[in-house]
């Protein structure tokens, strides 16, 4: 590919590429590949060659539907564009036959679009049905049959297909029906409504107001805007289909670095790594520091167990992150950047490396980029499995090739960072937002979110949740909305006990406080933190003492050992918790826990030690009676609890096995 010029970029902006009429996009991120997406891709490719079908087969990253891996998206002439979940490789021939021979959608795999319309702007061609109720026995098939019979009776059966959906994105609302292609959605549909829907909506084109689902989707996709849409391995795709590098060109040719920072200030974007420091200020401080060299670092050392936002963004949309880094570098006057990525994410590393190579090839990295005076290059540095390296100063030490021990701040990295030079460290998510802000303006971004926390935040919702997935919601969305409305509530309809945010540095939020709007401040008030965005759902069966122990053990393992409060305090805390969980705690233990936690928070050198007590303190605050029960109940109680937990888990494999055999 030849070197890109400013004119080329302008031409691309003026004329987006024509998309092929028919395509299948296979979502190949780590989760998808683990579920068999590579095999599916090969199977689809074989089928395509065998039948000489003209559709384009594309690789993309993940939309975020982790619960439905492997996921594909299909666009065929005459059919609405759909996502299919649980598309196992052996279903490839069926998919091809259904779409290209019969021109019909497949039953039981459609993930309904989250874009729900209030007006019927096109004649209905497909009806998606799914019973989302919790009652015994699904009525999905009954509704499919009723619709089909009614359509047949009116001679509409060839015009409209009725499809059983896999997921509607709406939960506990009875039978849900979506009319495609307009995506008008009806909920709590009862048997008598079937005829009415057909008469009014399908024949007369009117919307039934009493059934209409008017709540718009909670999600707003800014960070994830290209995830699952573009091919992460192709800069060409990014340039043509995703306004690739337009934001960077705008910054480079139309704005001064000060104006870029001013735009960031308007957007009020705060660092998405967890601490929430204003991004513009970080850039400003780094820029203001006189130096011969300044560095930009992208922090992709996502060490929190249970979080996979950064991995997903790096794997699905590497060029956006790179573009964000280019803009940051331009704003700060830096000519060298580093991607610090966990070695445990080989696919993310591979895709970022490819993105860097491609960008270098077309002249978006290197000397005098696009004919300007701006020069920049970026490299990858691998993490090696140390959670503490997510901490700024430890991360810098690790890039320098040393042990990842944190050092006291100040001096902050923006004054003395990598090799003693001013350095700005930005999270993957932060950098992915930057191009969007420059394209659409800071004011547009600040239009989302709350007073103090602007914009959107990506959460990886996992644990005992029905649909584990990536969720991007505006700040201020409540935890309940995220867990119940977007992700479908607790697995197996159990009762929710708590939500844990912020990984090992965060805390638990009990069910009674689920209506809290999510923002940096509110979560902190509750004794948790926003963190990088892991969100774990726990049901009534989970023991909070065990959970606290789990997180604390993690922090004790990961403590670098440099400062005493973290090294000794963490270990002692773990010993006490262990004693309590075996029923051998005594009345004074809780007071000691408080004292040790306090010492760690106040005296630890870095964030790891300061936040390590959070899981313990927050469980103690909201579920203190569980600790009391262990202390008062003694060993026999502890045995009963651990026995009950085992018994609760044991039948599950047995029953599923019966079903499978």
């Amino acid at each position: 590919m030849k070197t890109l010029t400013r004119q080329d970029l302008a031409a691309l902006a003026a004329q987006p590429a024509a998309a092929p009429a028919e395509w299948i996009r296979v979502q190949l991120d780590t989760g998808g590949i683990a579920a068999g997406a590579e095999t599916l891709f090969t199977a689809l490719d074989h089928a395509r060659l065998e039948h000489r079908l003209p559709f384009a087969l594309q690789r993309t990253g993940s939309t975020g539907y982790a619960f439905a891996d492997p996921v594909v998206e299909v666009q065929t002439v005459g059919l609405p564009r759909v996502h299919y979940g649980h598309m196992m490789p052996e279903l490839a021939p069926q998919l091809i036959e259904s779409h290209f021979t019969h021109r019909r959608l497949l039953d039981d795999h459609v993930i309904a679009t989250r874009r729900r319309s209030l007006v019927l702007d096109a004649p209905v061609t497909h009806i998606l049905v799914r019973d989302t109720g919790n009652g015994p026995g699904s009525k999905t098939e009954f509704f499919q049959f009723s619709f089909q019979e009614e359509l047949k009776r009116r001679g509409l059966a060839d015009r409209v297909q009725v499809v059983r959906a896999f997921d509607m994105g709406i939960y506990d609302e009875g039978a849900v029906v979506q009319l495609l292609p307009s995506a008008v959605t009806y909920t709590n549909v009862l048997a008598p409504d079937v005829a009415r829907i057909i008469t009014e909506s399908i024949e007369a084109g009117k919307v039934l107001d009493d059934l209409l689902w008017k709540t718009s989707d909670k999600q707003v996709r800014i960070v994830l805007r290209h995830c699952g849409e573009v091919d992460p391995d192709s800069v060409d795709d990014y340039l043509r289909r995703a306004e690739g590098y337009q934001a960077f060109a705008r910054a480079l040719f139309e704005l001064t670095p000060e104006q870029v920072i001013a735009e960031m200030k308007v957007s009020a974007l705060r660092g998405r790594g967890g601490a929430g420091f204003p991004t513009w200020m970080k850039w400003q401080l780094t820029r203001a520091q006189p130096a011969t060299q300044r560095y930009v670092i992208c922090n992709g050392d996502e060490g929190d167990p249970g979080a996979f936002m950064d991995r997903s963004v790096l794997e699905s949309d590497p060029h956006t992150v790179l573009e964000g880094m280019l803009i940051a570098a331009y704003a700060m006057g830096s000519s060298q950047g580093y991607f610090y990525i966990r070695a445990e994410y080989p696919r993310a590393v591979e895709r970022i490396q490819r993105a860097l190579d491609q960008a270098r090839e077309i002249g978006l990295l290197g000397q005098n980029i696009l004919g300007s005076t701006f020069s920049f290059d970026a490299k990858i540095r691998l993490g090696a499995g140390a959670f503490v390296c997510g901490e700024e100063t430890a991360l810098i030490a690790s890039i320098e090739g040393k042990r990842g021990s944190p050092s006291p701040r100040p001096p902050y990295p923006s004054v003395r960072g990598l090799w003693g030079m001013p350095t700005a460290i930005n999270n993957v998510e932060t950098l992915a937002i930057v191009p969007a802000i420059l394209l659409k303006g800071g004011a547009w971004y600040a239009g989302h979110g709350t007073e103090t926390s602007k914009g959107t935040k990506v959460f990886a919702v996992t644990g005992k949740v029905r649909n584990a997935q990536l969720v991007e919601v505006p700040m201020g969305t409540t935890l309940r909305q995220i867990v119940f409305e977007v992700c479908g509530g607790v697995l197996d309809n159990k009762e929710i006990k708590a939500v844990q945010t912020g990984g090992p540095s965060g805390g638990v939020i009990p069910a009674s406080l689920l209506d809290t709007p999510v923002s940096y401040e509110t979560l902190q008030q509750l004794g948790s933190i926003m963190g990088s965005g892991g969100m774990l759902v726990m049901d009534k069966g989970d023991s909070m003492v065990e959970v606290a122990k789990f997180y604390l053990r993690f922090c004790v393992d990961e403590s670098c050992g440099k400062c005493a409060p973290c090294r000794i305090g963490g270990y002692q805390l773990l010993q006490i918790l262990d004693r309590i969980s075996r029923g051998r705690g005594n009345a004074g233990d809780l007071a000691i826990i408080h004292r040790v936690c306090h010492a760690m928070q106040k005296a630890s050198l870095c964030g790891l030690g300061q936040t390590a007590p959070n899981p313990v303190l927050s469980t103690l605050r909201y579920f203190g009676e569980e600790y009391q029960a262990f202390i008062e109940g003694g060993p026999s109680y502890a045995r009963k609890v651990s026995g009950a937990a085992k018994a609760a888990k044991a039948p599950a494999p047995a029953t599923t096995q019966e079903v499978s055999s």
Binding site: T30, G31, I33, A34, A35, A66, F67, D69, E302, G303, D304, P305, G306, A307, F308, R311, S312, A343, E344, Y345, K379, R381, L382, G383, A384, G385, A386, F387, S398, I399, E400, G401, K402, R403, G404, W419, A460, T462, G463, K464, A468, Q469, Q500, G503, G534, L536, M538, D542, F550, Y551, F554, C560, K646, K649, A652, P653, A654, T656, Q657
Partner: protein, 223 residues
Amino acid sequence: MKTNPPSGSESSIADLRHADEAELIDMLEKAEQKHGFIPREISDEIARLLEVKLERLRRIQGKLDTTIRRDVQQHVAHWRNEEGNLIMILHAIQNQHGYIPREVAMELSRELGVKLARIYEVITFYHYFKLQPPGAHNVTVCNGTACYLKGSGDLINELRTQLGIAEGQTTPDRQIHFETVRCIGCCGMAPAMVVDGKTCGHVKTSDVAGHLANLRAKKETAA
């Protein structure tokens, strides 16, 4: 050959050259029984022979050393002009060998002019670097929070019982290495387990035996 054996015992030396250790010891014992001590000429011959054998072994060692040196030099050359290259070089070495062998670390220390202690300081700090060779097959259980909540603890216990080893260890026959990992980012399919690079989701304790049997079967067909 620099050793020129005395003409009288030429035939016995020729035989000895191909003798293995057991035969040599056997011969010495016989001589001892016969004479009550080991005659000078026999001990001389053996000493010469050992010299020859050692020389051969040294050449093998030398060959190994040059290979290691060449490898290390290649890795270092690739990262020569980069500041803070140590971790990236260690990654390259671990990718090649599966762990960081002592000899390679020593060679690296010479090549980079960095003290061995400093290299070990870095290796031991990061969980990712290993000092022991991995097993022929690897079983890794994800112990991220999502997997933990969904029962990775039971999987770990099951593997411990089935394999008779704890996490981070390799079975005595060096076949299966069992470890746990923080999070592999497949929280959507928790609890997850990685068997020889292939991720298995929604693993039940009852599946563990099957996975291990598959691995063992693979080992036998390979053998």
